[in-house]
């Protein structure tokens, strides 16, 4: 028997494209705007969300039959916040350097609507294994968009990728700066993230017409 059934594979792969949390469900936009000015920050955020969403989905799924429906949102919040704080504290004690890098993301993870969205839409109604796959898939789909946006914003805004000067040095005028190219500072500001996400949505929907909603 294959490790993943066809349906399970769909749980992971669908959110990468036709059911992407950012471009189709339009969740998690706030953090996509906030931290994609650099590719490195995008990658760190993607990995953190992958971890929290995978684990959180399993925890919520295991508790799904005993959570009172009246206070389920509060329970979900408590689970996310507790998970993130536990990880943060353990890192602070045993991997201090790493925790310094991650500390600014903690608040962004707790308030990420993708996490609450998947708890509410999936983990409350499905078993732990499926929920785990759904969490991983959605976090990967979220991360994918983050990395794409981060790539373009860092490349066009600062002329670097992961901190390396791939286009030459803008101050001493080497590389393509020698022929008059300039960095676009506007790319570093949040509105441009929204425009890049918009372009991704446009490209995606013109390739797959089934995604266009009728009005």
């Amino acid at each position: 028997m294959a490790l993943l059934s066809k349906k399970d594979t769909g749980l992971i792969l669908d959110p990468l494209a036709d059911n992407n949390p950012i471009t189709i469900q339009v969740l998690g936009i706030c953090s996509a705007l906030a931290i994609t000015a650099e590719l490195k920050a995008s990658i760190v955020m993607a990995i953190s969300v992958l971890f929290v969403l995978g684990l959180g989905n399993v925890v919520i799924s295991l508790m799904r039959n005993i959570i009172p429906s009246k206070i389920r949102i509060i329970v979900q919040l408590v689970v996310v916040a507790a998970l993130v704080i536990i990880v943060d504290q353990v890192l602070k004690a045993f991997a201090y350097e790493l925790s310094k890098t991650l500390s600014v993301f903690v608040g962004l993870i707790i308030t990420n609507c993708i996490i609450m969205g998947r708890f509410e839409a999936f983990a409350l109604g499905n078993g732990p294994w499926k929920s785990f796959l759904d969490g991983i898939g959605n976090a990967a789909g979220y991360g994918l968009i983050l990395v794409i946006v981060g790539f373009f914003r860092e490349l066009l805004g600062s002329g670097t990728l992961l901190g390396f000067k791939v286009l030459g040095d803008p101050i001493t005028k080497t590389g393509i700066y020698a022929i008059g190219y300039e960095n676009n500072g506007f790319m570093l500001l949040s509105p441009m993230a929204l425009i890049v996400v918009g372009i991704i949505i446009w490209v995606q929907r013109s390739r797959n017409k089934a995604l266009i909603e009728e009005n």
């Binding site: 650099e38 009172p68 509060i74 408590v78 600014v104």
Partner: protein, 250 residues
């Protein structure tokens, strides 16, 4: 047996148990790890102070590399010759001055108490460094750091850090390319304690002009940059009377 999860009694009981369980897990974790975390924070402060006076493992270009944690305590006692606390006119020596919480001192000062101002005097290759701790506000949360000065109040090095500035924008105040620009700038403008302005569009991105009290700002991080300017100016001004005695001796 299926439980009726819609009952009010159940809801209240569930909430109560959840709060107790999560609360005690977090409390247990916090107290079990607090010693280790405190120790890490202590070493980090020592690393930061040494970094500001140029004792680090930086290579020519690239990232910030501190003295490794296993060596930092020895290096700290080797290079930091004196730690003093300035309290009004009273100056005392205190080997734990680096642990003074600047935020608490600021609150105390607002209530009318005398502020305790820690200052570290380092010595390397016969040269003296006066290292001032700083504390201020960025866009989202606190920013802090250390600035080391020579007798003429010329900056020898800085270290900045922050609690929650935006990654990729304001968070870049702790990058080498931003911090290195401060070296060689003077705190003084004539005789005035002007500090160092994080300026936009000063037409000097390489920071070749060192006598303008300005460094080049970070794109997209105006408020964090202004916070850094204000923090340097305010923090250094607190030490004005002490720094004047150093200048007079020189």
């Amino acid at each position: 047996m299926a439980i009726n999860t819609d009952k009010n009694v159940y809801t209240v009981a569930f909430a109560a148990i959840m709060v107790i369980v999560v609360g005690s897990v977090l409390a247990f974790l916090a107290s079990a790890l607090s010693e280790k975390i405190k120790q890490n924070e202590k070493l980090e402060k020592q690393q930061n102070i040494l970094y500001a006076m140029g004792i680090n493992e930086n290579e020519d270009e690239g990232s910030v590399n501190f003295v490794p944690t296993d060596k930092v305590a020895d290096e700290f006692s080797k290079y930091i010759k004196q730690q003093i606390v300035i309290e009004g006119d009273k100056i005392t020596e205190n080997d734990e001055a680096y642990l003074i919480n600047l935020k608490q001192q600021e609150t105390a000062a607002k209530k009318g108490n005398t502020r305790k101002l820690p200052l570290f005097i380092g010595e390397k290759d016969g040269k003296k460094f006066y290292i001032i701790p700083m504390y201020g506000k960025g866009l989202w949360d606190a920013i802090w750091g250390f600035v080391s000065l020579d007798e003429n109040l010329v900056v020898q090095g800085v270290y900045f850090d922050h609690k929650g500035e935006t990654p990729g924008l304001g968070a870049n105040i702790k990058q080498r390319y931003f911090m290195d620009d401060f070296e060689g700038e003077s705190i003084l403008d004539g005789t005035e304690y002007a500090g160092i302005e994080v300026a936009k569009g000063n037409n000097d991105p390489l920071n070749n002009t060192k006598d303008d009290n300005e460094v080049d700002a970070l794109a997209g991080a105006t408020i964090t940059g202004n916070g850094v300017s204000a923090m340097i100016k305010e923090s250094v001004n607190l030490y004005k009377s002490y720094l004047e005695t150093i200048r007079a001796k020189n």
